[in-house]
């Protein structure tokens, strides 16, 4: 500010400037986010994990070549590759993956439908929270595989038992994610909402829920991980012709026939499916939500 200045600062006439243009101090202070070129993103984001996988394969191959353990205990990467192509030519690769994936996805969606209202009620109703909150947190730390024997006795060895185990694993995660999301909503937003005239349901719809979305998404992500884990445990333990062959069952079958490369293939497929859902569904969703709120460094 100049103290010698005697006239009021002149302003650009509003009519002479283009509509989506900010001028003066506004232009100086506006941050423009720029997207990075695809090549660079690939190099920075895809290359490191690829190198990591190659490193694991190299070490694996090295250990195999040095004959540290007999090959029936540790087959080579190539043996596992052959198990994969065998499955492919038998035509059962996709049916095995799909059996598990379908169960996992539909179980997860059911868990979302159940966990979301539970989370909302526990977060907003004090008495329910005092009663149910600790139970939910406790359930979250209980490995859901512990429910498999109970589910089998209650429901039999069938799809219902599988879904029960998924729900018991995922519902607490999803509910807890929503609860912590709601807890972390800055009180200022709720006050701002109230002064704008949002009360009760409108406040929940326009202020509370959007504000709690990042926490809720984190809960969903964890809920998926728990769904997938509990399902694999359940498939591994519960065996019945009615269930068809999913990834867990495939793994157990290969153990029965002492086919170590099949076992390793089973482990790798379970890992790949779990990670793929995370990378293809949850990570982009989460990034989008965080980026629009300015909670993420640009370009990530």
């Amino acid at each position: 500010m100049s103290s010698t200045e005697t006239t009021p600062p002149t302003r650009v006439d509003a009519t002479t400037r283009p509509d989506d243009d900010l001028q003066g101090l506004d232009a100086l202070e506006t941050v423009t986010a720029q997207r990075r070129p695809v090549g660079r993103v690939l190099r920075e984001k895809a290359l490191p994990p690829l190198l990591g996988v190659l490193l694991v394969l190299a070490v694996w191959q090295l250990v195999y070549s040095l004959h540290v353990t007999p090959s029936y205990k540790l087959p080579s990467p190539l043996d596992v590759w052959h198990s994969l192509t065998d499955l492919w030519y038998q035509g059962s690769l996709f049916s095995i993956i799909w059996t598990s994936l379908w169960r996992g996805i539909s179980g997860f969606l059911a868990a979302v439908a159940i966990g979301t209202p539970i989370g909302l009620i526990v977060a907003r109703v004090r008495f329910v929270r005092a009663a149910v909150g600790p139970v939910l947190s406790g359930l979250q730390s209980l490995p859901s595989v512990a429910w498999v024997p109970a589910a089998v006795i209650w429901l039999g060895i069938n799809d219902q038992a599988m879904y029960a185990v998924i729900l018991l694993g995922a519902v607490p995660s999803i509910a807890n994610g929503l609860i912590s999301g709601v807890d972390q909503v800055p009180p200022l937003f709720l006050r701002a909402g109230r002064t704008l005239g949002a009360r009760g349901f409108t406040s929940a719809r326009y202020v509370l829920l959007p504000a709690a979305l990042p926490g809720y998404l984190a809960g969903l992500k964890q809920g998926w991980a728990f769904s997938w884990r509990s399902l694999m445990a359940a498939e591994l333990i519960a065996s019945s012709p009615d269930l068809g062959i999913g990834l867990g069952r495939y793994l157990e079958n290969q153990r029965d026939s002492s086919d170590m490369s099949g076992v390793l293939l089973g482990i790798i497929l379970i890992l790949v499916v779990g990670v793929a859902i995370d990378l293809l569904v949850f990570t982009p969703l989460e990034n989008r939500v965080l980026r629009t709120r300015g909670l993420l460094q640009t370009g990530r």
């Binding site: 500010m1 009021p8 202070e29 941050v31 200022l188 701002a192 704008l196 959007p210 709120r293």
Partner: protein
Amino acid sequence: MSTALTAPDATATTADTAVRLAGVHKTYGAAPVLEDIDLTAAPGEFLCLLGASGCGKSTLLNLVAGLDQPSSGSIEVPAGRPALMFQDHALFPWLTAGRNIELALRLNGTPREERRAEAERLLELVRLGGAHRKRIHELSGGMRQRVALARALAQGGQVLLMDEPFAALDAITRDLLHEELVRIWQERQLTVLFVTHNVREAVRLAQRVVLLSSRPGRIAREWRIDLPQPRRIESAAVADLSVEITEHLRGEIRRHVQH
């Protein structure tokens, strides 16, 4: 631009009262925060509430906004539901600047087809015509406060409560926003209750400055400021009055320390 406005009559009736507080007390637990507040703002009046920390300025605004209830006494806002602006812009980061304003319009019952155009008009009013699609984090501090002002105006009330809205801004930006605020206050003939601990800011903006004592907050003194707008914060007239008011403010703080 208007020159010095005439002072509101002390015996004003409800018809020409925008905000009236009568005998308002507020205690939190055993501690009195506000004591015996009698305050009336006329429609179109710009009033600054000035005081050091702990004088209950923000509590006073919350009471007028209806976010809190007085322990005793009465508060009337005949001019309709007031809009409140915070020191932190409190804009919703999941919405664009324009959508934030449209949400305020939706919540006050503006029909869907009018919201977009009205939001554009309000953004133009705060000189952010091109910012409808901008995300909140893409805006500077001063721009955010202007969007917050536009959102407050979107509520359509005649009373605007401002809780140190420019305290976190740099001096250059604050100076520009003072100018915008005075322009909009005059254009829309708003009643403004503006809380600040910055004496010069109070003298720069207000027609009437009310000094509050601290712990508990009481009305200590009042000044009517007849300097014509637009004023300059660095002008001699503003400085002189600021010196006088600062003396009294210091007196209030000293008095408090001795007790």
